[in-house]
């Protein structure tokens, strides 16, 4: 079966699933998963088999002929779309089932399939006009998925913010593609590095795609959208949708020439995004918001890699660019896998307890062992700890950065701070996820719903298991992914072909395997010894405190207190505290709210100014006819002055 046929069948299967989605959930699921599998097969054939496809047809759409193309870069992202799309569909079968959400579940299924089609097409189309079409449709599908639960105000507000931000980005892309088309004379896309005059367009692309990717400070829509969406939607938004922003940047920095400053700016933005994103994440009390901010961090990490690759491109194609780009692209996969896993886990918790507030949970590990275990695995992966996949991609990225430093060129001045910020981000990520995992799953249940939680069913557990095994496999055998990543790097820049995986990657893989074995052995040994010596249960000692209560446990806010303090200048937390006073203090309160700083301290004031202008303008429409005629006169005089003023010189 040819590549094109595979993709066509996948497209047809997904289209059919749109049709049946309203009424027949099981057929929908089968078709969606089949479509995803077919897409995955196609992507794998490109990535591992080295095939690539380009299709053109005389069929006119919007006055442009259809032009599709699947190469290494797009296949890499297509793989992600297929995997998360398929697993998410399975997950939603239980998570957003018809019996719980009779009114929204059908819509959710249809939008899901449409989203997968649009995402796939974004990766395939090779025409600016068509790209914009599927891009915006993909954004709209995302909007309708985020706002599935429209009844809730918070969901609607979050969805609206997403929609507006996304539209702003799209308008940037309007300018980008329109300028590209007017400079090249056609909407057709493809490698055009030779046109040096196109370089400044990179900034437009960076803005347009950056809004979708959600790096700092363009991330304003991301936390609330990902937190308020249904969890399978959060998973695909966080795991895949924002990656398409990265795809845009990677794709067009590969096809178009880039300005010399691009690498510096992208690396800088990436490092900032990594550090500040995770600082925000750590401070959150809502576990889905925490995961969302963590996506900002991970996009930052990916952007560091992309930025270093761009630096390499402008500095004589230095070999370190390849390593960094490979790390970034691998991290695209890795982040997709573990972030989706974490969001699925979060969904399971949310499903079981009905709250996203970490400080209302606790002790879930005992009632939801599967979720807890898989979530813990996800936290290890997202914190970039060996022997899981997160570490591998960050390791590649570090190697790239270190290689820049050893090169001792001027580029080291951005690589050194980036490496240090990346390290700090890694440490805070560890802290954040130690906090998230511990506060949600460990200790005692803080509220009634947490105590009465239940484990999720097989439909939800299955996808989590799949994703967890992906995390483990990539971690233990990174060499397996190498051809895919290397192929993508090679198709990004033809002269950057890297054949064999670096020796150190192979060694790293064996070290990781050894580590995993040692961990299993040691755990078993220690457990056996403890068991053998006698395992007693008792209350938590807690230095002998007699009446411990669940609410006395360390909460998420107190856990994050120290680091949040360091980042107070950017976090701008809003605190409300009433300290206990007097000999018999009545009531003490301490509330902490973590606003989205960029949104509330930068966008909101600007928006306020615009709204002020708007209300001024509105006052002009006051209903008095006399003034309306005066406006006509004013228009006459104004235009008259404009016209005749222009004629004087």
């Amino acid at each position: 079966m040819t590549l094109g046929l595979l993709l066509l069948i996948a497209f047809l299967a997904l289209s059919a699933s749109i049709v049946v989605g309203f009424r027949r959930p099981r057929i929908w699921l089968a078709l969606t998963v089949a479509g995803a599998m077919l897409g995955m097969t196609a992507a794998l054939r490109v990535l591992l088999g080295g095939e690539s496809g380009e299709w053109q047809s005389g069929f006119l759409l919007g006055g442009e002929t259809l032009h599709l193309r699947l190469d290494g870069v797009s296949a890499l992202f297509l793989m992600l779309v297929a995997v998360i799309g398929g697993t998410g569909a399975v997950y939603s079968h239980e998570y957003w089932a018809d019996q719980h959400n009779p009114s929204t579940a059908p819509r959710g299924r249809v939008c899901w399939s449409a989203l997968l089609i649009c995402m796939g097409l974004v990766l395939l189309v090779s025409n600016g006009l068509h790209f914009l079409i599927v891009w915006e449709l993909f954004a709209l599908c995302g909007y309708f998925l985020i706002t599935l639960d429209r009844e809730r105000n918070g969901v609607r507000a979050a969805g609206w913010l997403y929609l507006v931000a996304s539209h702003a980005g799209t308008l940037g892309l309007f300018a980008f593609f329109a300028l590209l088309a007017s400079r090249t004379g056609s909407w057709n896309l493809g490698p055009m590095r030779a046109h040096a005059e196109l370089a400044p367009l990179f900034w437009l692309a960076l803005f347009g795609f950056g809004v979708k990717a959600g790096f700092f400070p363009l991330h304003i829509w991301l936390p609330s959208a990902h937190a308020n969406a249904p969890s399978h939607v959060s998973a695909i938004m966080s795991g895949v949708a924002i990656k398409l922003g990265v795809y845009g940047i990677v794709r067009f920095s590969g096809w178009l020439p880039i300005p010399p400053a691009a690498g510096w700016v992208v690396t800088g933005l990436g490092a900032t995004s990594a550090l500040l994103g995770i600082a925000f994440a750590f401070a959150q009390n809502d576990f889905k918001r925490l995961l969302a901010y963590c996506s900002v961090e991970n996009i930052g990490i990916i952007m560091i890699g992309v930025g270093v690759a761009l630096l390499a491109m402008t500095h004589g194609n230095a070999p370190w660019g390849r390593l960094a780009l490979a790390g970034a692209l691998l991290h695209v996969w890795n982040h997709g896998a573990f972030k989706a896993l974490l969001f699925f886990g979060a969904g399971s918790v949310l499903h079981a307890t009905g709250t996203r507030e970490m400080s209302r949970l606790g002790g879930l590990a005992r009632v939801m062992p599967w979720t807890a275990g898989l979530f813990a695995l996800g936290t290890l992966a997202v914190a970039g700890l060996p022997p899981l996949n997160g570490f591998v991609s960050e390791w590649l990225l570090y190697l790239g950065l270190f290689a820049v430093v050893t090169g001792k060129g001027v580029t080291a001045w951005i690589a050194m701070p980036a490496a240090i910020m990346l390290a700090m981000a890694g440490a805070i990520a560890l802290a954040s996820f130690a906090k998230a995992g511990a506060v949600i799953f460990l200790g005692a249940a803080r509220t009634q719903p947490a105590a009465q939680a239940h484990e999720c069913g097989y439909w939800m557990r299955g996808p989590m298991l799949v994703l967890a095994s992906i995390c483990v496999v990539i971690g233990l055998a990174p060499v397996l992914c190498w051809p895919a990543v290397a192929g993508a790097v090679a198709s990004w820049h033809p002269t950057w072909a890297i054949g064999e995986p670096p020796v150190s990657l192979v060694t790293l893989g064996s070290a990781q395997i050894a580590l995993a074995i040692m961990i299993l052995a040691a755990a078993a040994w220690l457990w056996w010894t403890a068991y053998h010596n006698g395992l007693q249960r008792g209350p938590t000692w807690d230095c002998g405190y007699a009446t411990p209560r669940a609410r006395m446990q360390y909460t998420s806010a107190s856990f994050a207190g120290i680091v949040s303090g360091w980042f107070r200048w950017v976090l701008q937390p809003e605190r409300k505290a009433r300290r206990p006073r007097g000999d018999f203090p009545a009531e003490a309160i301490r509330l902490e709210h973590m606003p989205e700083t960029v949104l509330e301290h930068i966008i909101a004031p600007v928006g306020g100014l615009i709204m002020q202008a708007s209300s001024t303008v509105l006052r002009l429409q006051h209903g008095r006819l006399q003034f309306y005629i005066l406006y006509v006169l004013a228009g006459l005089i104004g235009i008259g002055l404009f016209v005749f003023w222009g004629c004087i010189p």
Binding site: G362, G363, A365, P369, A376, L380, A383, G384, P386, W395, Y398, F402, V405, K408, A412, M416, A419, I420, A423, M424, G426, A427, I428, L430, A431, A434, K435, G437, A438, F441, L442, G443, A444, P502, S504, T507, L508, A511, M518, A522, A523, L526, W527, T529, A530, N533, L535, Q536, R537, G538, T540, W541, D542, P548, Q553, Y554, S558, F559, I562, V563
Partner: protein, 302 residues
């Protein structure tokens, strides 16, 4: 096979030697204070006793309570095995192994914190929070130090990175890394392993509820970490590669001993810092490492 044998040998060496260091430190402290102090091998006795004891596990705890220390222990041992040992070099050496080492330490930290949180105790939560928070700054300092070594040697593999002397920035690097060592191993002035005021502690408070073999694993892991940092510090500064094997071995041993004594002296002479000032000190350590980095950059630039 030789690699395996070598690894086994090193494993045994690390396992056996590590608990010596806390004993030495305690001896130094006792000596400065004019006491006799516990025997140097005290930790060995403790570990042996703990290993034979039963475990009391909180009602709230899940298996992570025991698995956590096991993973942490393995991670620290793994990190130790990556460390080149003077003239013997390292067994497993590859580009970027230094990162694996750093992240293994992080893994250990994560697992200790996780195990601590298992009990749902506020004290242990406090300790875990402090541990992971301060690590942010130490991690930055370590990466800065590593970067300075990378700049200096042009290599990203531990065995070659640590071979030459640290050059012009050596003093800065020693100061920075020594502070990091104190922080990472929870010694005075960051933490006081001897106090029993739970509110003021970091590491010790995390293990309040542990007992028996898991506690033994934690304590042993801590001693390995101390030894690891001492060796790292010594090798980073001394020109190991330039010395004859014997001299190198001797230098390493003496260096580690010196560091250990140094730690003991610091503990005897300094009081624990207020918590407010810990970040300040850590930032200082970070800056020292950054200066070392800058010196390395300047010093080696043509």
């Amino acid at each position: 096979m030789i690699v395996m044998r070598d690894l086994m040998l090193r494993l045994v060496l690390w396992l056996l030697l590590a608990p010596l260091l806390p004993g030495i430190i305690n001896k130094v402290k006792a000596w400065v204070a004019g006491r006799r102090g516990p025997p140097v091998l005290q930790l060995y006795y403790d570990l042996a006793k703990l290993w034979r004891k039963g475990v009391v596990m909180s009602n709230l705890a899940s298996p992570g309570f025991i698995i956590g220390p096991a993973v942490a222990w393995v991670a620290l041992i793994g990190a130790a095995l990556l460390m080149p040992l003077g003239p013997a070099g390292s067994v497993v050496s590859f580009r970027g192994d230094v990162l694996l080492l750093i992240y293994l330490l992080a893994l250990a930290r994560f697992c200790t914190a996780w195990a601590a949180m298992e009990t749902g105790s506020a004290f242990e939560g406090m300790g875990a929070a402090r541990e992971v928070s301060y690590a942010v700054l130490t991690e930055a300092a370590i990466i800065a130090a590593v970067l300075s070594l990378i700049v200096h040697t042009g290599s990203v593999s531990l065995s070659t990175m640590l071979a030459p002397s640290a050059g012009a920035g050596a003093a800065l690097l020693v100061a920075g890394l020594f502070t990091v060592l104190l922080a990472e191993n929870c010694r005075v002035p960051f933490d006081d392993p001897n106090t029993h005021l739970e509110l003021t502690m970091i590491h010790e408070v995390m293990v309040l509820d542990h007992s028996g073999p898991p506690l033994a694993a934690i304590l042993h892991g801590a001693s390995i970490k101390l030894l690891l940092f001492s060796i790292l510090l010594v090798q980073a500064v001394l020109p190991m590669g330039d010395l004859s094997p014997l001299a190198a071995a001797g230098a390493l041993a003496v260096g580690v001993l010196l560091v250990t004594v140094g730690v003991g002296l610091v503990e005897s002479l300094l009081a624990r810092f207020a918590f407010r000032r810990v970040p300040l000190l850590l930032t200082t350590a970070f800056l020292l490492c950054v200066f070392a980095l800058l010196v390395a950059w300047k010093g080696d630039a043509p």
